[in-house]
Symmetry: D3
Subunit: 291 residues, 6 copies
Amino acid sequence: MRFDEGYSGKVFIMSRDTHEDADAIIYGMPMDWTVSFRPGSRFGPNRIREASIGLEEYSPYLDRHLEEVHYFDAGDIPLPFGNAERSLGMIKEYVQKIVDQGKFPLGLGGEHLVSWPIFEVMFDKYPDLAVIHIDAHADLRVEYEGEVLSHSTPIRKVCENYGAENVYSFGIRSGMREEFQYAKESGMYMARYEVAKPLQEILPTLKDRPVYVTIDIDVLDPAFAPGTGTAEAGGITSKELLEAIHAIAKSDVRVVGADLVEVAPVYDHSEKTPIAASKFIREILLGWVKK
Amino acid sequence: MRFDEGYSGKVFIMSRDTHEDADAIIYGMPMDWTVSFRPGSRFGPNRIREASIGLEEYSPYLDRHLEEVHYFDAGDIPLPFGNAERSLGMIKEYVQKIVDQGKFPLGLGGEHLVSWPIFEVMFDKYPDLAVIHIDAHADLRVEYEGEVLSHSTPIRKVCENYGAENVYSFGIRSGMREEFQYAKESGMYMARYEVAKPLQEILPTLKDRPVYVTIDIDVLDPAFAPGTGTAEAGGITSKELLEAIHAIAKSDVRVVGADLVEVAPVYDHSEKTPIAASKFIREILLGWVKK
Amino acid sequence: MRFDEGYSGKVFIMSRDTHEDADAIIYGMPMDWTVSFRPGSRFGPNRIREASIGLEEYSPYLDRHLEEVHYFDAGDIPLPFGNAERSLGMIKEYVQKIVDQGKFPLGLGGEHLVSWPIFEVMFDKYPDLAVIHIDAHADLRVEYEGEVLSHSTPIRKVCENYGAENVYSFGIRSGMREEFQYAKESGMYMARYEVAKPLQEILPTLKDRPVYVTIDIDVLDPAFAPGTGTAEAGGITSKELLEAIHAIAKSDVRVVGADLVEVAPVYDHSEKTPIAASKFIREILLGWVKK
Amino acid sequence: MRFDEGYSGKVFIMSRDTHEDADAIIYGMPMDWTVSFRPGSRFGPNRIREASIGLEEYSPYLDRHLEEVHYFDAGDIPLPFGNAERSLGMIKEYVQKIVDQGKFPLGLGGEHLVSWPIFEVMFDKYPDLAVIHIDAHADLRVEYEGEVLSHSTPIRKVCENYGAENVYSFGIRSGMREEFQYAKESGMYMARYEVAKPLQEILPTLKDRPVYVTIDIDVLDPAFAPGTGTAEAGGITSKELLEAIHAIAKSDVRVVGADLVEVAPVYDHSEKTPIAASKFIREILLGWVKK
Amino acid sequence: MRFDEGYSGKVFIMSRDTHEDADAIIYGMPMDWTVSFRPGSRFGPNRIREASIGLEEYSPYLDRHLEEVHYFDAGDIPLPFGNAERSLGMIKEYVQKIVDQGKFPLGLGGEHLVSWPIFEVMFDKYPDLAVIHIDAHADLRVEYEGEVLSHSTPIRKVCENYGAENVYSFGIRSGMREEFQYAKESGMYMARYEVAKPLQEILPTLKDRPVYVTIDIDVLDPAFAPGTGTAEAGGITSKELLEAIHAIAKSDVRVVGADLVEVAPVYDHSEKTPIAASKFIREILLGWVKK
Amino acid sequence: MRFDEGYSGKVFIMSRDTHEDADAIIYGMPMDWTVSFRPGSRFGPNRIREASIGLEEYSPYLDRHLEEVHYFDAGDIPLPFGNAERSLGMIKEYVQKIVDQGKFPLGLGGEHLVSWPIFEVMFDKYPDLAVIHIDAHADLRVEYEGEVLSHSTPIRKVCENYGAENVYSFGIRSGMREEFQYAKESGMYMARYEVAKPLQEILPTLKDRPVYVTIDIDVLDPAFAPGTGTAEAGGITSKELLEAIHAIAKSDVRVVGADLVEVAPVYDHSEKTPIAASKFIREILLGWVKK
């Protein structure tokens, strides 16, 4: 008696009914416990799904239709409120399951800290992994207000645990002096302010490498994505982020997983942020998930 | 790999995992095709579910906990956009299934016209059915702008097809002169402006009868429920609607089904309308659904 | 080629096409130049008209239909921005014309100061006039920040120019100490916090007198009318204001004109304030305008 | 006693008082009955007019003043709610009248389907007409959910009835695979994603031809026009749309009519969408309407 | 060069310039780290201050003027983000200072957990203290999701540490079964759903006792206070809360401190919640602070 | 007992505690009395300060940290409501004090008219001053609706009193024909539509001159800054305004003062306008204020 086809308001459009024959798993991580300025991203995944019903299933950019991709929207991981450590543990365990089955994990945040346990799983599976990090913020803090687990620290943790030379950040326009200094000295790659152009220069150097892509929606200017916790003026357009997604799709890297984080619907009554996010997810499904 | 416990953002809190052992079925009817003034109730069911995660599972009013009730949230019926006739057919078919299995149908609208096919199923099953209709609007039009299937006509259709004497309307404060005249002459019962007090007078007269209750959220004053299409000033408070729900729960009528309609989230950025609606649904589950 | 019937979004529903055979004239006064806290009422009249298309044309409260009343919506007076003195002059001149033709002036504000020139015209025509003033604020200041023409002064000016004993204020819950002192000593009538009950007591004492009624929408609690400049917690419900309007309709006073002021739509995205205001205007048309 | 000059909140600024000596007629088409995702454009025309009072009457882009153009804002056509067929008939009849008098029809939507009856009138009058279609969506569906009359079908109907080679679409970034296929095979012109540049290339090829221009506001990115039903990320800027309007103004085509559709104010509390739309209308009046 | 008089948007109206001669200290506690559903109350204190500029300085209810009360608005305590324990420590230390100087602490939240360290200070100073707790929620949990420091636990901690018989809760309409059971068995007083009436019955029993009052704004119905994290339908009106404040003012209890918590402005674009809150603070200053 | 460090919600982040050792003074001018279309900028300064708490203190654009700049946020000047003349007098007097002490005045509006008294002080001190004016509107009116003191006149007054050849306007896209004519004939410099590019051409010609910069936030497109009174479609991006600020920072002009005006928060619920404005202020502090 479940309604499994058509509009249901519960899952991303065109989700399969079971995970078994799916090549990709969409899963939500409704966590915003460590957010410093304006929380609310715990409601992001549900609204991205809701907005997806306004999407066409076909992409003229990629000339591909969602029915050509097998994916399953598993819902949100039931993260325990306020407990960052246990939440990250649950995310890690779940993504491990996805990866063990050879499927593509496509995560919806939630705050950016959710990417950290995913990075752990991915580097464990793909030791030669490269991380493409598209964001307004460097996220290179060692700690935030004395807290090591913070939405400002995940990229630093990747650098320190898996090698800064495997991190490629794009669009960065905010951070502490120390973070920018670290970016310069650590050997990581960082493109400031822009995304599409520097990405097109870097992609050939990553040829055939497994790549995990993490996108913080606040890389967009608040004009395009007001629904986020730490909106930062001076960002890129939705058009440029689409270009970046398409550049990756058409490159020779092997995308093995991705996430889109920090959609906080309450700050955006026009719902343009989840509307844009749902389109990015569609293009990621169509462009990055291979059989 | 589905996440079945805790917060998922997809179903009403504490929904069981399957319909099989459920005594009640929650189902959404995301339809607003015939709405004359301000559409948007097609998004009502999803937001009522989302708001339910802010609820306690226990009601101090009824001293009962949701775990004592067995219900399954089946999601939204995938109604074909813009096609009222086919939509009503699908609703009828689905509710028939619920009723055939002896379960309590608890519908979430959508516009008020969705109640019409439910009435058909219910009267078919319970020929001595009484309808309790709580609403700002009489909904007694013969047609609306030449259209027989309209959100202004469902109660008239009940009167004409199943006997006006079986209809009990409460809280009515808007309608055409003809509708109020019809109310007087047809033999139906209509209480204007108020709900809780007249309901307490009527309930004893319905002792042991099967009763179907349809609640249009706009019976509340726009102060309490701005998120609705045809908001009408001068309504009742949330407190009075709770009293009405509790009066029914404590009466000797046999509630055999219910719906709550016309929540249109876009007009209410504070989300107080879905927040209130989700509480009403909780109280209905706790007070009206018996094993 | 003008569209004169049905929904046009331009005039209050059911407005006649010309002023000639109209018994009442609706006119807007889009002025908010002297507002101290939150301006925006200049957009009030247009939104009240727009909201009127969601209204039924029949009132079950008064059992009367708008087609039984002859009124013409003349649009907004083109007041010169920022010039209070000239604006008031234009309002006076216009209302004089309405009154000279024996018609009922029904004004839509705009800030409360717009009522002052109307009072002048009305007292000139009806020397035995009584003013019924329904408001959260006493509006009894001599001046506001050195300015005699302010939205805080109109009632004081009536008292001083036409006799405090002719002023009856209801619902007052805010003002300076001096205003409340003046209320006590001047001989005017003032009912604090409540409207319907004290009004029902006063109305018999005004039997057969010509009465002008000025309603400031902020007499409602901000829950019912958030769309106003100086929202003041602790107000009355829409239901109580409807009762007050109906009490006047059913009394033996002779209402000779009225206004409804201070609707400022920008603070109310749910539009519940213009929606309620349009209903009050309908009830005023049906209850107070006689042939 | 009507107020005919200055700000009235009822008509587009600087509208003449009668249609007789007008070269262009502005008219509203408040219809959104066939909208699939988020309705609300029925309120578009009134809000575009309201926003026009914030406009300067002079355009520095075109060095022209609204007093140099004779136009009359006729208000909204009183379309019967929910009845698409009868609504389209009324639009057709009305535009026929405008065109019969040799005037320029400038329509305000309403959903995009309203353009279909206008196309019929225009092709009838100008058999060599070219249609410039600026939109995010291809609008080339044969039907939508079994419905031939839908806001997704109007351009397809033009192609099939009047020749695909006479249709020039710009800015298209969404549609079904079949629509893009049809665009390729049918002989119509379609520029994806961009508007100003491809338009400047096409305009010389249309020299001296009568041209009708239909603009769907959703060609803008939701950052610029969130107030629309089917917002689609990745769109153009307001600047680019202004450039396109000016390119047409300065070209050698003969614009014989135009419309701007799909403004749905409820999704945009900042009112930036009607504010932008009113500027586009001003530029169209100044640039496209000739004596 | 600081601006110390008139409107500054920084402090509650009529705040003195220094704390030295103040009888009461207003201080903000911008903390919402443990909030389970919808965070945002960290912005409450600033918006309550901003809204205060719209207030009259005189209360007609109490016939008293703010200039008769000496108070100093000290600003917000600079609480360390995300660290509940350290935040509570800073609050305790600060309130201790206020109390040591014999002043009345008037706190603005922030989430309800901020009251816990205040209770500790107050009971330490006044061993015979009674706590009046006005709230929608029982706040009687032992822990919340394994966390002892949560906005759901402060009242329980008072009961356990200082005696349940010293706690008087009013307006409670939400909680777990265990909380209501504890309320019954522990010896505390709890009035469900209502505030003003039961309070008037209890106050005489507290004659001459030192009393601390904690008000959670969500005791109001969401119609009156949508700007709060855990809005709960079925609440009281602003009028009733004003009555309660005035009943305490006129009683024989000795109020020695108070707080108002859980104002979360982001959910309330009309700003009616901070507007109401600022009025409650004015009445508290005028009614409860004695020389 | 004042809280002087950390987040207080009262002053711009990292403000010093006293003005004495400050090189720059931030001050608010909460005035919007002469605004013609949509008022509300009186609340701008407080919200810009509130938004500043979301900012990093370091700028990667300028590689400079706020602790390297000594500035003091003095709060808002307590301007008398509705009295433009007296308000301007107070602003003039205050800025005179700042300038007399050799400090950099950094003003937050408020409507644009507030810049006029500042211009007077600055030209008095620096007879060879050049004014850089970044705005959507020419602000070159002689009067507005008969009023010489209007937010549409300040730049004209500079031209007439201090020489049009000292005025450099950028980004202008709206005004009366007369204003654009005056711009051409008067000898002033005006760049239409664009800011960054023409500014980079002009800056070398201003080498070593003292320069005052006035920025009207509405130079941004409403997509980037909806929170302003006279939003005008077709504007620049936040990115371009940042480029302009940085171009000035890196040029050889000597910036001696600046203001940012017309932020009106009520039209922007996402708060992206104050968020962007606070970033511009940070960049101005870091780039323009020298020891």
